[in-house]
């Protein structure tokens, strides 16, 4: 911790030395937004910025730091002193930054506190119960997820404001696989598919959507991928398009035959099996590395250096559902059971969801555990 504090302190000191230069650089943009609007000052010219840069940076940086701290620690406004015009303009920006409070627009403050305290009270009991069943790590994730319940979406927030006991549960079923549940019946309109329901594909708002007998799914096409859900009659044919080795060795109940394979623009692969009793659906998605293809995808990870275009990055799998979700085990590993759908689990770098509308929970989990 000492090292962390020292590092942070050191970084702050370094950054403060850069403060003046930084605000000079952002000055034009910010002043065009604020100062130009309020009429206090006029947007300075490039020539003035250059003059500013030639001033004694160390002296101004020290003074700037002192003045900003004064702004931050008191309600006193910065008063003009014999300083360059540019400096006063920059201080005006600093004043406006200091006066900005984004947190007033956040709706989570009260619900989050209630959830934090409520969850904390439950922590000991839940830990003792769950640790024996699914291990400490998953338990903690479940607990943590309870804290996130109110923040998943603005929709959820609206409901949370009405009833704090309603929440979304998140269960992490692997290093990079998780599922979030919205328990709000007000927002649930799940249509349970009929037996033998043929999957229906539609495209809307840039998303692909797939209606199946075990639930309705959708997602955003990955950059550079086909935007069309492709259908195949065999796994071998689908394998040509699928970006990973499709897992196909299961122990299926008697009577189930592969009917169709779909490869989605998000790399999900759906295997549809039919029987006289009903459908079985097995969905797979690899947790792998993707290449950052667009500038907007650039992520600057401070501790390990920037991730640049063309560099690979690991992605995980997240799923939202409005159905009940509970923690279960698949091959003694943490998994989630999605009511009305089936288990979601992670194995060998693949996230899976499986379900059969005429299969019992035990039967579907047995299929999941037979996966090779």
């Amino acid at each position: 911790m000492t090292k962390i504090c020292l590092r942070l302190s050191s970084e702050l000191a370094y950054r403060v030395r850069r403060f003046l230069n930084l605000l000079v650089r952002i000055k034009t943009t910010l002043m065009s937004v604020f100062i130009g609007r309020c009429g206090v000052c006029k947007v300075c010219s490039t020539a003035k910025i250059k003059r500013m840069a030639t001033m004694d940076e160390n002296e101004l940086a020290k003074r700037f730091d002192r003045d900003v701290d004064q702004i931050l620690r008191s309600n006193l406004k910065f008063h003009d002193e014999p300083t360059p015009t540019e400096y006063r303009q920059i201080m005006d920006i600093a004043q406006r930054l200091a006066d900005t409070n984004f947190s007033k627009t956040s709706k989570i403050k009260k619900p989050l506190l209630n959830q934090l305290l409520r969850t904390n009270r439950k922590e000991t009991t839940m830990l003792n119960t769950s640790r024996r069943m699914i291990g400490l790590r998953l338990t903690l994730f479940v607990l943590v997820s309870l804290l996130l319940l109110l923040m998943v979406s603005p929709m959820t927030l609206q409901v949370a404001a009405k009833n704090l006991s309603d929440f979304v549960r998140t269960i992490r079923v692997g290093e990079l696989t998780w599922i979030q549940q919205n328990e709000q019946s007000e927002y649930v309109s799940t249509e349970v598919g009929s037996l033998h329901l043929e999957p229906i594909v539609e495209y809307k708002d840039g998303m692909w959507k797939l209606h199946t007998s075990i639930g309705n799914f959708g997602g955003d096409p990955l950059p550079g991928h086909s935007k069309i859900v492709q259908s195949f009659n065999s796994i071998a044919d689908a394998q040509v398009t699928a970006p990973f080795s499709i897992r196909q060795r299961y122990s299926l109940p008697a009577g189930y035959d592969l009917r169709e394979v779909m490869v989605t623009p998000s790399d999900w692969v759906f295997l549809f099996y039919s029987s006289s009793n009903g459908d079985l659906v097995i969905a797979q998605l690899p947790i792998d590395e993707i290449t950052i293809n667009e500038p907007g995808e650039v992520i600057d990870s401070v501790p390990v250096g920037p991730v640049t275009v063309g560099q690979k990055d690991t992605v995980g799998v997240g799923m939202l559902t409005d159905k009940d979700v509970e923690a279960v085990l698949v091959n003694d590993q943490p998994a989630a059971w999605i009511d009305g759908t089936g288990p979601m689990w992670e194995s060998d770098g693949i996230s899976f969801v499986a379900g059969g509308n005429e299969l019992t929970k035990e039967e579907v989990i047995k299929i999941a555990e037979s996966l090779k």
């Binding site: 403060v16 930084l22 930054l97 900005t100 309705n216 600057d300 390990v304 997240g318």
Partner: protein, 154 residues
Amino acid sequence: MDKSVAILPNEILHINLAKEEPSAFAVIYEHYFPRVYNYIRYRIKDPDISDDLTADTFEAILANIRSYQSEKGLFVTWAFTIARNTVNNSLRKQRFRNWFSIDIARNKASSEPEPEQYHLENEMQTELLVAIAQLNIHDQDLLALKFGAGLSSS
């Protein structure tokens, strides 16, 4: 930022109480929520993700508050180390490909305000975020630590 809460009176006392009784954490939460949220919002444009990361941060603070030792550093430094790591980890790792239940997606589409209305709740703040977004991530962090978190350079 509300300057009147820049320093939490009797902070160590509240921290020690929170170590024993979680309900005492409320005082600390009330004090730090605006600063933590503002810090995260400076760095994360999306308000929903900012909410998530704020929750992550406070959960981590509460979960680990028993390990905080005042003799090793200021609580504010410790707390914002957590906030900073939370944001950095999110930027680095949380590149999840969301898989939706479309029923939720449909309801979201019909119940949410237009993105502009939602994000532009305060036009001036949004324009500020746009301006800040033009900076590189290190400079965004600098502004966030200074003006969002209200941290001193000392």
